[in-house]
């Protein structure tokens, strides 16, 4: 391991990119610090109950241990140069004038930076952003800022006092960046455009479609003067676009005709959502050390997607003037202090990286909150024009037409996929026989939006729910009854023409709310409340949502192993904001292997090299031919590692963890049990774990410890590492072990013999090449999203008509999360989602452009996130549907809970005041004006 003192510290090689070796360093935070080594009861997170006593990472967090990326200083890092340097980024707060350079004289003489990195420095060293982020990492002198908050320079300081002094003088100093002549705004073509047209065929919801993206494929517009122009040629027998346009026109014409004939009722409206800051509590930070003598670059990050960073960073360096001086990159993973997607593919770590490249010692770049508002990813604002057509007699939805404009901000980031997911999610829980949904992700001079919680679905589904509530009122049908009539059923096709793979329980959720006193007695409760509280208005609202989760290219990895004492440890590649994942994944082992893992390394990036897998083209755009051809290589996979966004852990990661545990049971423990019991082959369906002992018929129960000892003694399999791939279906592969053929839902496998229950080390594992593999068809890429976890909310509000203040009086949640792994974690997620949904509905908003976050003056004094008094903190009710069976999947829920709250609140406000709002947040100012037109 060239370049490192490998005797002192093990860095594990992940891959080689363009001649640069990428290494991963062990995560800093060790569960071992909380392991029962001290012998005190407080450290036993598992406890003895059915659920764990507390979070696995709980002690570290409640005692202020260093675990977050932002916590680490050079002195905390073994082998690092102990000096700590500091970096400061200067950013434009305006865009309408040319950037004319920097007035360096503004920096106090005793706070001088030793290095000023500008666009020129970058171009001299050929440093360029990865294409995903666009160009102009630092704006060149004489150019026009692309967006508010565009960075122009990075300053490096050799001690904290100088950095701090300079930052205090520069941050709000209007003289430091010089602006020249007025320049026209920077404009680009839209980042992406999508169109989802479907018309049900004669065989109904589950039959073949007349037209749908899954069946016919996708087509795209051309761009003229930065505007979208959809094809106009319509031909029922033509190509994909001609047929699509034909059916789109049909849907529109039919809606007009049926509505004027009085058969269909149209709910028509413009729906707008605001710019939201994720406001994760830990602002982004990095600490980067360019170890010149050893030609290594070390990075500590606050990223939710360190794997993607590694690869892109390696390319970035390989193409730069630093290529000859850097042989290896080491990414140190750490716990994320809140992310909500905003630390997923954020541009921030690249500024940290550049600071590191130019610095003389480890350099820390850390946003304060003003900077985080100015430069951090936002939630995409959607502007929708929607028409929902409902049959007046049956109350059945007939058509949905939606045109969405999405503001992506100054850099593309995930705007293309957010707009696509938003468009495919507007169907909510309903079946729609006809739909024409278009979504255009536009460039603007706003701060860029990214993969923030909700990912487009919050925005579009809330609008749909508002329309459904309005339709119910206008057609005089009970809102839940109207939903029941239109609820999507298993086996039906969604707006993309795909059939969801996970069973949906919408009807059950709806029925539950229908019988709740808050719903049944809503009229009398309103009367009573308003009589008891004269002057206040009371209303009840309901909404439901279903979060499509997943990316269409999920590739979770997991490794599970035991030592000869029977202690289990594991690693997963996934990383999640709340790191509830380490607790929940550890718990998963209990049902398969008899006890929870004592150690779970989350965000593990290194071990998987043992699988020796490689990828080629993008899993989204590769052809079926390419996939077929590559599948013949037993080490190929569509995607080696996955990003950690979008409620992935529960469902996708659990799949991999489960498979690894099952294979370990069948191939490792059961053969040993068979020997110890001196019996024939054991039927896995007949075994049972009780108190970490394996029970099987009349045989004497075997403690895991005894089994493990036997496996280790006999040289059996003590660890299983798997990689799996999901494109709305799981890939399946055949393996041969000792001449026996097995088929498992994984596409990569490696096994271990012997070893400890310490960290999972790739070098201890040996790959087992598969014999054959069956990947889900590439045609499923057109299906967009087909996994769902539904949730519903019933909410009561009291509105003060004078001030427009809304108080939440009662709140009941309904949730189907399949099998909850750790109920307390699920409930915590729900309560957090509720608060964030309340924020979106009533409180949080950033103005656009010059008044917005990009101007650098935003912070929590103005941006109102919900406080305890804004949420029903003492009286929230949750109804988590019991799983239908032990086979129910673990569904991702983090995002979905916040969605129905928004529309339920808007509806409750309508029921209280008679005013409908189509735009969030419903602020007291808007309400006050609507309710008091007599006052200015």
């Amino acid at each position: 391991m060239q370049g490192f003192r490998s005797d002192r510290r093990k860095f594990i090689k992940v891959c080689t990119v363009a001649g640069i070796s990428v290494f991963a360093a062990p995560a800093f935070w060790r569960q071992s610090t909380a392991a029962p080594s001290t012998g005190t009861p407080v450290t036993d997170w598992r406890g003895s109950g059915e659920s764990p006593a507390f979070r696995m990472d709980g002690i570290a967090k409640v005692t202020g241990q260093k675990i977050f990326g932002r916590d680490f200083r050079a002195m905390d890092m073994p082998d690092w140069d102990k000096q700590q340097h500091y970096a400061l980024v200067l950013r434009c707060n305006r865009v309408e004038r040319r950037f004319d350079g920097i007035d360096w004289s503004q920096i106090p003489s005793d706070c001088q930076p030793y290095q000023r990195i500008t666009a020129q420095s970058l171009s001299e060293k050929k440093v360029k952003l990865p294409p995903f982020y666009g160009d102009a990492m630092l704006l060149a002198e004489g150019a026009s800022p692309h967006y508010y908050g565009h960075a122009v320079a990075i300053l490096l300081f050799d001690d904290f006092a100088k950095y701090n002094g300079a930052k205090q003088v520069l941050q709000f100093n209007r003289k430091v960046i010089r602006y020249g002549d007025a320049t026209p705004p920077v404009v680009r073509d839209p980042y992406a455009s999508w169109r989802i047209i479907r018309v049900e065929g004669p065989d109904g919801p589950s039959g073949e479609d007349l037209y749908s993206p899954l069946q016919d494929g996708l087509f795209f517009p051309s761009y003229k003067n930065r505007k979208v122009e959809w094809p106009t040629e319509a031909d029922k027998a033509g190509d994909v676009s001609e047929r699509g346009i034909y059916y789109a026109q049909e849907i529109r014409a039919q809606s007009r005709k049926e509505s004027s004939a009085g058969n269909w009722h149209l709910v028509e409206g413009e729906y707008k959502t605001q710019i939201i800051d994720p406001m994760m509590m830990e602002p982004e930070a990095s600490n980067v050390w360019f170890d010149r003598p050893r030609q290594a670059l070390h990075l500590v990050l606050t990223s939710q997607s360190p794997q993607d960073f590694q690869e892109l960073a390696a390319h970035m360096i390989a193409e730069s003037g630093f290529a000859d001086h850097i042989k290896s990159i080491v990414v140190h993973s750490s716990v994320v202090g809140g992310g909500f997607g905003a630390k997923d593919h954020s541009i921030f770590p690249y500024y940290g990286l550049v600071a590191g490249l130019f610095a003389k010692a480890p350099v820390r770049l850390a946003n304060n909150r003003f900077e985080q508002f100015q430069a951090g990813l936002k939630r995409h604002p959607f502007h929708m024009r929607n028409i929902l057509a409902v049959d007046r007699t049956s109350g059945k939805f007939q058509a949905l037409i939606s045109e969405m404009q999405v503001d992506g901000g100054g850099r593309q980031n995930f705007s293309a996929s957010v707009s696509m997911v938003g468009a495919s999610a507007i169907q909510s829980i309903y079946y729609l026989p006809r739909n024409d949904i278009s979504a255009i992700a536009n460039q603007s001079m706003n701060v860029d939006s990214g993969s923030m919680r909700g990912y487009g679905t919050l925005q579009t589904m809330s609008a749909m729910e508002m329309m459904v509530n309005q339709a119910a009122a206008e057609l005089d049908i009970d809102p839940i009854e109207l939903r029941l009539r239109n609820a999507f059923q298993n086996g039906w096709r969604n707006t993309q023409g795909a059939v969801p793979r996970v069973g949906v329980r919408y009807t059950e959720l709806l029925e539950r709310a229908k019988t709740h006193p808050m719903w049944q007695e809503r009229a009398t409760r309103k009367q009573t409340f308003e009589a008891e509280n004269p002057g206040l208005l009371f209303g009840t609202g309901y909404a439901i949502a279903t979060k499509d989760y997943g990316t269409g290219a999920a590739a979770p990895s997991a490794a599970v192993q035991f030592d000869k004492e029977g202690r289990l440890s594991m690693a997963v590649e996934f990383m999640e904001m709340g790191t509830g994942i380490s607790t929940s994944q550890s718990m998963l082992l209990e049902s398969v292997l008899g006890q929870a893992a004592q150690r779970c390394d989350v965000g593990e990036v290194d071990a998987w090299h043992a699988l020796r897998q490689f990828q080629t083209e993008s899993p989204y755009t590769m052809s079926q031919d390419h996939q077929d051809k590559m599948s013949r290589n037993p080490l190929w996979t569509p995607v080696t590692a996955m990003a950690s966004a979008a409620s992935m852990s529960a469902y996708f990661q659990s799949h991999a963890t489960h498979r690894a545990a099952e294979i370990l049971l069948a191939q490792g423990l059961l053969p040993a049990a068979q020997r110890l019991w001196k019996t024939g082959p054991i039927d896995p369906a007949q075994i049972e774990w009780r108190n970490s002992r394996l029970h099987y018929g009349q045989h004497k129960p075997l403690p895991l410890k005894v089994l493990a000892e036997e496996v280790h003694r006999s040289g059996g399999i003590t660890g299983v590492m798997v990689h799996s791939f999901n494109r709305w279906e799981w890939a399946e592969a055949d393996f041969e072990l000792d001449g026996v053929k097995y088929t498992w839902g994984v596409d990569g496998l490696a096994l271990r013999h012997g070893g400890s229950s310490d960290r999972v080390v790739g070098g201890e594992y040996e790959v087992v090449e598969r014999k054959a593999v069956r990947y889900p068809s590439t045609a499923l890429n057109n299906a967009m999203v087909t996994y769902y976890a539904p949730t519903a909310a019933l909410v009561e509000v009291a509105v003060n008509p004078g001030s427009g203040e809304v108080t939440i009086h009662g709140l009941q949640n309904y949730m189907d999360c399949g099998r909850a792994i750790v109920p307390q974690l699920v409930e915590g997620q729900i309560e957090g989602g509720v608060a964030m949904g309340i924020g979106h509905a009533l409180y949080e908003v950033l103005p656009a452009l010059g008044e917005g976050a990009g101007n650098g003056t935003w912070n929590l004094n103005r941006y109102q996130v919900p406080l305890a008094r804004h949420v029903p903190v003492w009286n929230q009710q949750h109804d988590i549907l019991p799983p239908e069976s032990e086979q129910d999947p673990h569904k991702g829920i983090a995002e979905v809970v916040m969605i129905p709250i928004v529309a339920a609140l808007v509806e409750a406000i309508y029921q209280a005041t008679g005013k409908r709002f189509h735009e969030t947040p419903v602020s007291p100012e808007k309400l006050r004006r609507a309710l008091n037109p007599q006052v200015l």
Binding site: T33, A34, S37, T38, T40, V42, T43, A53, F54, R55, G58, I59, K61, V62, T63, G64, Q65, F68, R70, D71, R73, D76, Q84, C111, F160, A161, K162, N164, G165, M280, M281, E282, P283, G337, G338, F340, N368, R369, M577, T579, Q824, E827, G828, Q829, E831, G832, V834, A835, M836, N859, L860, N861, V865, L867, A868, R869, V871, V873, W874, Q876
Partner: protein
Amino acid sequence: MAKIPVSMVVNGERVGPVQVDEYTTLLDFLQEYLNLTGTKLGCGIGVCRACTILVEGNDGALEPVRSCINNVGRFNGSSVTTVEGQAQRNSNGEVLALSPVQQAFLRNFSFQCGWCTAGFVNAATALIDDLRRRPVSAGKVEQVIEEALGEHICRCTGYVRYFRAVREVIESTPGLVKEAD
């Protein structure tokens, strides 16, 4: 840049004098000079309360103070407690026993990401300390929690489990709740 000597007692240990630029916040002093990073920066302007630490008053009472909006000079000679000082530790710094507030937060799964936790631990500890001197009636428990923690921002778990945990501690600790007044 004028440097001033800074001395204080942090988590029971004497610190300093350290020469520090006088315009250094207590938060930065803890993090950059003492390498105590358990106290977190959330907003840096005293709104979110993530940076709350405890300062011992002359009467021994613990006052929650926002370390991000006060420079070190204010704390010269003070006795300061940060989240690192809340648990009992052995000489290696390993945790031996958690405070009742810390235990209650763990038991209730109060936090997820944990960034706001230090502020909640300290503010809740100050509340318990205050209730020891001035108990409230059972009917006021929720109200005093709202007053003490109501400005703290948590983005992951929606406050419910923090508040519940503190109520548990108050109701189960003798002497904090008195007969109705």
